[in-house]
Amino acid sequence: MSTPESQLKEKQQVAVEAGKRLIATEEQTTYAKILDIGMKIGLIAIIVAFFLYAFGILSPKIPVTEVSKYWGMKSHDYLEAVNIQSGWSWLSMYKHGDFLNFFPIAFLAGLTIVCYVAIIPSLIRKKDAIYAVLALLEVLVLLGAASGLLAAGGH
């Protein structure tokens, strides 16, 4: 019969082994690596894009002096007032400093989708079917939100 002391030692050994396994989990490391690189790129890009806009290096669609006319409006009224379509119309306005800022914002918002897509193969390989399905569902939910389809019924 094992003593409480030996039981504790055994438990600690299991904990150390399991801890190593957990910290080194392939999908968690993959997720962290992609998030790390993407987050740094996105945050640098957001500052660069803003300075290109604020310094007038790329001319904005809405002059900086006129932005304050719109920031008190509901977003729906703002879009109508400046004659801009909702959704992904900003993609075609990359030459304007203000809309260039949408790119790093969308990049940061899209990063989680990339991270999830990257861990799915590892989950499938490990035959972790439930988590592979959950990860896939999350990708679909985020893609639905990003596509604008899930918000189509709004204002």
């Binding site: 968690q28 977003s75 949408f102 989680t112």
Partner: protein, 320 residues
């Protein structure tokens, strides 16, 4: 010391640069007299926004709360921006903070992906619904609801207890099926903490409400995530805090997309806020060792209570 000086220099440099950049005469050569709807020089607001969010980033770290929960009520209550833009900015602020913290928390094994994935799926789906509700509601109702929500959060902050290592006698069948269990290394004691969770179905249902509130009000949801993960589901406090921080990067992403797609994005509001909060957080981390977090936390709770009251009175038309 050297790092502190570098951070302070960076803040002064960025503030000066920002004010210069947003000064219309320098930025685009257009009339210097352009004013906002409230009659103030337009550039005052983004410059002030940067300074306020910088301060917010500092106190958020010192008080141990997320920047997102401070951002929406304070900026929504005291700045001339519509709540649509404030909530979108609030989500992107919380998203940026969690994206920045996420890699470190995952690598150290503090944030747990197996715990986060099922919770995130529910919270992020609910956040989309919340964002759609928020965008569809009239401003006065949003403000009133935000005021009530913030006052409730204040009550949670004051009343909720925390448990370093909650006692979980037996993992429930759902968490066992999902194999949500883990071990993390507690650096303070050098021990490896073995943990499991219980009441998983109840916890997941609660995350539906948390997700809706996060999306609807543009609040980071750490204030709710931590008590549910820690007290209800029984995850250790450090795992709960880390997983909650990481969770925001998923929950807020889905709601942020709804706001982006609905055009509720004004870079002049979002970028100074994100940069201000991030710089403030770096300074806050440096100051953490030299301040009394409990005193700061009382100030933050008082500030939140005042902002909640302001939103409530603004929404009901008593204090516009």
């Amino acid at each position: 010391m050297r790092v502190s000086r570098t951070i302070i220099t960076a803040v002064i440099f960025f503030t000066s640069l920002f004010i210069l950049a947003t000064e219309p005469a320098l930025a685009s050569g257009i009339s210097k007299n352009a004013t906002s709807a409230s009659g103030t020089q337009w550039w005052i607001w983004p410059a002030l926004l940067f300074i306020v969010t910088l301060a917010m980033g500092i106190v958020a770290v010192l008080a141990g709360v997320g920047g997102g929960v401070l951002f929406t009520p304070i900026i929504g209550g005291f700045f001339p921006f519509n709540m649509d833009f404030v909530r979108a900015a609030g989500l992107i602020v919380a998203l940026s903070g969690s994206l920045a913290a996420g890699p470190g928390l995952l690598k150290k094994g503090m944030a747990d992906l197996r715990l986060a994935i099922p919770v995130a799926l529910i919270a992020s789906s609910a956040a989309i619904v919340g964002a759609m509700i928020g965008l569809a509601l009239p401003d006065n109702i949003t403000q009133t609801s935000l005021g009530i929500a913030i006052l409730a959060i204040v009550a949670i902050m004051l009343l909720a207890k925390k448990s370093e290592y909650p006692e979980v006698k037996k993992a429930d069948s759902l968490s066992s099926a999902l194999r949500i269990t883990g071990i993390y290394h507690e650096a303070a004691t050098g021990q490896n903490i073995n943990w499991k969770i219980h009441r998983t179905p109840q916890g997941l249902i609660t995350f539906i409400f948390i997700g809706i509130m996060a999306g609807m009000f543009g609040l980071g949801a750490g204030w709710a995530n931590v008590p549910v993960l820690n007290l209800m589901m029984g995850a250790p406090l450090k795992v709960s805090v880390a997983t909650s921080k990481f969770l925001l990067s998923i929950t807020d992403t889905s709601a942020a997309w709804v706001y982006i797609n609905k055009g509720a994005v004004i870079p002049m509001i979002i970028v100074p806020s994100v940069v201000g909060i991030m710089l403030g957080s770096f300074i806050g981390v440096r100051l953490l060792a030299k301040t009394k977090p409990s005193a700061i936390k009382i100030i933050v709770i008082a500030l939140l209570a005042f902002s909640g009251l302001r939103a409530l009175l603004k929404g009901t038309g008593i204090w516009t």
